[in-house]
């Protein structure tokens, strides 16, 4: 590989990492707070992309889609949590199984409503071109994705550390039961957490659509699988873990696919298995091991 190619691939890796952060941060948040691995996270991501498709078709505005998709997913998450997960509070494994059912329903209904063909969404006007960068041209949209991912991480970091809601989240990750005993309405907090997780998945669906396209199967790959990879590698349930996981997995996957081509997919999951085996709480995870 020439130096220019390495630079290009590094940017590709970073933009993939930024997408992964948007995607995985929601999964990580829900797990940290509720001890639930939301296996419908990929379906939420997929739904976000299809909603964006329709919003852009009707209104012509990508930016409106970036608002609408997270909003719809947030409302959906907020409505689903009390009816489904709350009924099984404390039974974490059953809650995880429940999300499998949610995923089956959402994915099939998407297929029914939007069809089962491969679709595409172009980058918004102004970001759809390319610019000259060190010995080559590079799509502007991918640079935007990097900037957006970084901005989101900063905003989430500030909310996490400096606001009352962030304080509640940190306390909930530590010990949600104790938080309830102190008078916090954990039902509401959990519903909001689940809604935020779903909204982030929806946002990831919109932002990723111009890069990865929109097609059946995207709920699993990259949706669910890659967000699991990121949170497992980085550490379940912490914001810094999601950041570290994305920054590691994005470039690793991109370079892996360039250098090893066929075996890259297997290598990524071998890394995941290794981390789960050696340090089940992830590289940066400090949380207790939940059953």
């Amino acid at each position: 590989m020439s130096l220019e190619q390495i630079f290009q691939q590094a940017l590709n890796g970073l933009s993939f990492g930024a997408l992964l952060f948007i995607l995985a941060s929601g999964l990580s948040l829900v797990f940290g707070m509720m001890d639930v691995v939301n296996l419908a996270h990929g379906a939420f991501y997929m739904l976000g992309a299809y909603i964006a498709l329709s919003v852009v078709q009707v209104s012509g505005s990508f930016w409106l889609a970036m608002l609408a998709a997270p909003l719809v997913l947030g409302v959906l998450g907020f409505a689903l949590e009390p009816f489904l997960l709350r009924r099984l509070r404390g039974r974490h494994l059953d809650q995880v199984l429940l999300t499998i059912g949610v995923s089956l329903v959402i994915v099939d209904l998407i297929g029914q409503l939007w069809g089962r063909e491969v679709r595409s969404l172009s980058a918004p006007g102004g970001l759809d071109g390319s610019i000259a960068l060190i010995g080559g041209v590079y799509p502007v949209y991918r640079l935007f994705v990097i900037a957006f991912g970084v901005a989101l991480a900063v905003v989430m970091g500030v909310v996490y550390r400096r606001t009352k809601i962030g304080m509640l989240i940190r306390a909930g990750v530590q010990d949600a039961e104790m938080l309830g005993a102190l008078g916090v309405d954990t039902n509401r907090l959990f519903a909001l957490t689940f809604a935020t997780g779903a909204a982030l998945a929806g946002l990831a669906g919109v932002v990723a659509a111009p890069v990865f396209g929109i097609q059946p199967g995207m709920d699993t790959d990259p949706g669910l699988l890659y967000s699991l990879v990121v949170v497992v590698v980085g550490g379940l349930g912490t914001l810094s873990g999601a950041v570290a996981g994305s920054v590691l997995v994005g470039p690793a996957d991109t370079f892996g696919k360039v250098l090893f081509q066929d075996v890259a997919l297997a290598v990524i999951f071998a890394i995941v298995a290794l981390v789960l085996l050696l340090k089940p709480t992830g590289l940066l995870g400090r949380i207790r091991v939940a059953r």
């Binding site: 691995v37 995880v96 499998i100 329903v105 789960l276």
Partner: protein
């Protein structure tokens, strides 16, 4: 009912099931039911094997399709590379490869529990899927492996629809018998002990890691056999056979039917097959929502009837008996 009468009834039922194509002829000329039941029985074997882990040993694996896929590929590839259609060779290869894979993966996963066990099995199965999907020279990659040989026993060709059915149903009965025996054996009891309280079992002197590993290998081998049967039935292996969707399907089957029982995964396979194969023919053709219906049924069972169809049946039976007294 005396136990002898019960045995006679089960034997009669099994005989009726295995010989289904031979007495259903008059009203089943299209062979639709035969195909649906055949595929349901493959799913039942697959689900029964998973239930040994999920229901008996309390190991929620979300990667069981890896062994189903390994068995399917092994049966197909062994037949093609060794240029033989003989059932003992291809089915033996399927079982051996699945068992070996289950041993390798099992060693890695048996120490984990709960959600971590679930994610670890998912991740490792995903490696198997990735290999199946990308090693085009051997597995056919994303095109799948077509032209799986016919299963032959000496000169007897099982690929004819009726005989294929008999092969699947016979294997199903055999699997159920083995699992019934396992459940009553000291090994099966010890596994349930591990599920209920592993620390206590360890304190009693059981090597619980080894117990869990044995269960994992047995379950993987049976899933491999199910995979081989699927390959013989359809003469095709898809990478999706080893994918997450197939693992989810087995898990849904076990839970909808009722984990921890023999009848549960069988009933689950029946219900899942009806939803997948019969319900779509009742709906308008442009309404393809079988998976969504399956998802809703699954959610309802997890929320309101965690013991599955069998649990519902037992509760109904108990309430009937109570009323009669």
């Amino acid at each position: 009912m005396t136990s002898l009468a019960r045995w006679a009834l089960v034997a009669l039922g099994a005989l009726g099931l295995v010989t289904f194509p031979y007495w259903s002829g008059p009203w089943e000329s299209s062979r639709f039911a035969t195909t649906v039941i055949r595929d349901a029985l493959v799913l039942a074997i697959f689900a029964l094997s998973l239930d040994l882990l999920v229901g008996r040993a309390g190991m929620p694996s979300l990667g069981h399709a890896a062994f189903f896929g390994a068995g399917a590929y092994a049966a197909g590839i062994a037949g093609q590379r060794l240029a033989t259609d003989q059932l003992p060779v291809t089915l033996g290869a399927a079982a051996a490869v699945a068992a070996l894979l289950a041993l390798v993966i099992g060693v890695l996963v048996v120490r984990s529990e709960g959600i971590f066990f679930l994610m670890l099995t998912l991740a490792l199965a995903q490696i198997v899927f990735a290999i199946a999907f990308q090693w085009t020279a051997v597995t056919g990659g994303s095109n799948g492996l077509s032209g799986v040989g016919r299963p032959m026993l000496a000169t007897l060709d099982f690929s004819a629809p009726d005989l294929m059915y008999v092969l699947v149903a016979g294997t199903f009965v055999l699997t159920a018998l083995v699992l019934w025996g396992l459940g009553r054996s000291p090994f099966g009891r010890a596994l349930m002990g591990v599920r209920e309280n592993e620390r206590r079992m360890r304190a009693l002197g059981y090597d619980t890691t080894r117990l869990r590993l044995s269960a994992f290998v047995i379950a993987g081998t049976m899933a491999g056999v199910a995979g081989a049967l699927s390959a013989y039935s359809t003469r095709f292996v898809s990478a999706q056979d080893a994918g997450l969707g197939n693992s989810v399907r087995a898990f849904v089957t076990v839970l909808v039917g009722g984990a921890g029982t023999l009848a549960g995964p069988m009933a689950g396979a029946g219900l899942v097959s009806v939803i997948e194969r019969v319900v779509p023919s009742l709906l308008p053709p442009d309404l393809r929502i079988a998976e969504a219906i399956l998802g809703i049924v699954f959610i309802v069972f997890v929320l309101f009837a965690r013991q599955g169809l069998v649990g519902l049946g037992v509760a109904r039976y108990a309430s009937l008996r109570a009323r009669r007294r």
